[in-house]
């Protein structure tokens, strides 16, 4: 029966000592332990969340970069195409201009040649006229003296002219 009879002394000491242990452990062990556990858990959770966020941001950044790159490529292609167009146009223009200039120059040259020719013809005509006049003068002068000689002279002059 003794073992199921609680003793007053032990109850008293159990209450006192357990109470002291409870208060001391609460202050110096459980509170710091539980709070640091909580802190650690929240820090781990935070770190994980941050890692996820960083991953997401990274992906966004990568996607952005790719988009930028694609845009740049498109821009480059566009610029290149524009440049080719412009250069083709320029070449075409230059060609047209050159052709125009050429034909203009040819025309001018032709005109000049024509002028020269006309002038030359005029001169020939003048010279021929002068010569004719000279010849006519000489013939006229000889005719007065000798008929056959006159004839001979005309022939010789004609020969001269032919030779010329």
């Amino acid at each position: 029966m003794q073992i199921v009879t609680p003793e007053l002394g032990l109850i008293f000491w159990q209450l006192v000592i357990f109470g002291i242990v409870l208060l001391l452990l609460r202050a110096f062990a459980w509170k710091p332990i539980l709070s640091s556990l909580k802190e650690r858990e929240s820090s781990i959770e935070g770190a994980l969340r941050m890692a996820d966020q960083a991953k997401l941001e990274m992906q966004e950044l990568k996607a952005g970069n790719e988009k930028l790159l694609a845009e740049a490529r498109m821009e480059r292609d566009r610029i290149l195409k524009e440049a080719t167009d412009v250069s083709n146009q320029l070449i075409e223009q230059a060609k047209n201009k050159a052709t125009e200039e050429g034909s203009r120059m040819i025309l001018q040259a032709r005109e000049a040649i024509q002028n020269e020719k006309n002038m030359a013809l005029a001169e020939v005509k003048n010279t021929a006229a002068k010569l004719s006049i000279d010849i006519a003068e000489r013939i006229l002068r000889r005719e007065l003296a000798d008929q056959p000689a006159q004839q001979q002279l005309v022939d010789s002059y004609l020969k001269e002219v032919k030779l010329n």
Partner: protein, 354 residues
């Protein structure tokens, strides 16, 4: 943990060694006098001195004991404090003597015994151990902050987290934080003392009804002081019970309040005491048979039970803590939780009606 187990093993082997010669000498002097019941009750009971072994026979041998202070209060004489060695072997000191480990006065007047008995000394030891161990654990947190745990800290951390997550959070709910210090202290107090009780020469503290009574009463008080309106509503007007049955239900519920901690008290006391009795009974078999040849068998069984007791030590601590948490959880449960449960019941009923 390995070191702890090793230490326990060492102590166990020491127990076998220490018990044997003592008892064999006892047996050698008078075979008839060995009474296992008496020996076992002596071992599981409290004592005013801390007895380790007796070298030689009971009457003339040397008792290896630590005398403990006796603190007695008598209304007439007041407080008297002296060493328990003054009372050894039935001596009378200051009008006080020991009768079956009970402090009584010669003249039969009332004595209040506040002695530092073996159990109280063991209690103080365990208190010191708890303080040393858990302040060391707390220091680990202070040092490493939210870094990875190390050493003793990493051994106790999973247990603390288990108590918090599996016991407190699940049984009490969102208000668990207030009760964590009590739950953790109770758990480690019971576990440590169970283990200390398994050591040779250790006191059977958690197998003492005064200790389990105190713990159970503390649980009851905490439950009552944290109880809310809803808890009392359930007791005095149990929902779903016809009014006519209330005169029966109210006493039943009121008894229930007391029965819960009572079961806590008896469960821990009986489990630990029973374990000790079984181990001691196996060892007693050697002396009952009066032969050393049974020793290997009984020691093997004793060792097996001792291993089992190591499991029981933590199991009982867990059960006590879990049930305490559940009782507290029942007392702090919010009304809507109960409504939700009732709603579920109603739903089931209507489903049944369909």
């Amino acid at each position: 943990m390995k070191r702890l187990l090793l230490a326990i093993f060492c102590f166990l082997s020491f127990a076998a060694y220490a018990n044997e010669p003592t008892a064999t000498t006892e047996e050698a002097t008078d075979k008839e006098a060995f009474s296992p019941g008496e020996m076992i009750l002596h071992h599981i009971g409290d004592s005013h001195e801390w007895h380790f072994a007796t070298l030689g026979d009971e009457a003339h041998g040397t008792h290896v004991t630590i005398p403990l202070p006796v603190i007695a209060y008598r209304p007439a004489q007041g407080l008297s404090v002296f060493s328990s060695s003054q009372l050894a072997e039935g001596k009378v000191y200051n009008g006080l003597k020991l009768e079956h480990e009970h402090l009584v006065s010669e003249d039969g007047s009332k004595v209040y015994d506040f002695s530092i008995t073996k159990n109280v000394a063991s209690l103080m030891l365990s208190a010191a151990l708890l303080l040393v161990v858990f302040t060391a654990v707390a220091r680990g947190y202070a040092k490493r902050g939210s870094g990875a745990p190390k050493g003793i800290q990493s051994f106790f951390e999973p247990i603390i987290i288990f108590i918090r997550d599996e016991v407190a959070k699940k049984s009490i709910g969102p208000k668990y934080e207030r009760y964590m210090p009590y739950l953790l202290t109770v758990f480690f107090f019971i576990w440590f003392n169970n283990l200390m009780g398994l050591m040779p020469g250790g006191a059977n503290l958690t197998g003492n009804i005064a200790v389990t009574l105190t713990l159970a009463v503390l649980t009851l008080l905490i439950t009552l002081f944290s109880s809310n309106k809803n808890y009392w509503h359930h007791i005095f007007a149990t929902p779903g019970v016809p009014k006519a049955l209330l005169p029966i239900m109210i006493p039943v519920e009121l008894i229930g309040i007391v029965v819960k901690p009572f079961s806590l008290m008896v469960r821990l006391f009986a489990n630990i005491t029973a374990g000790h009795i079984v181990i001691l009974s196996f060892i007693s078999l050697i002396f009952i048979f009066g032969s050393v040849t049974v020793a290997p068998v009984t020691l093997a069984f004793g060792l097996f039970i001792n291993m089992l007791e190591l499991l029981v030590a933590i199991l009982q601590a867990y059960i006590f803590t879990l049930l305490t948490a559940m009782y507290i959880g029942g007392a702090v449960e919010e009304h809507h939780d109960a409504d939700y449960q009732m709603g579920g019941g109603d739903g089931a009923d209507t489903a049944h009606a369909h």
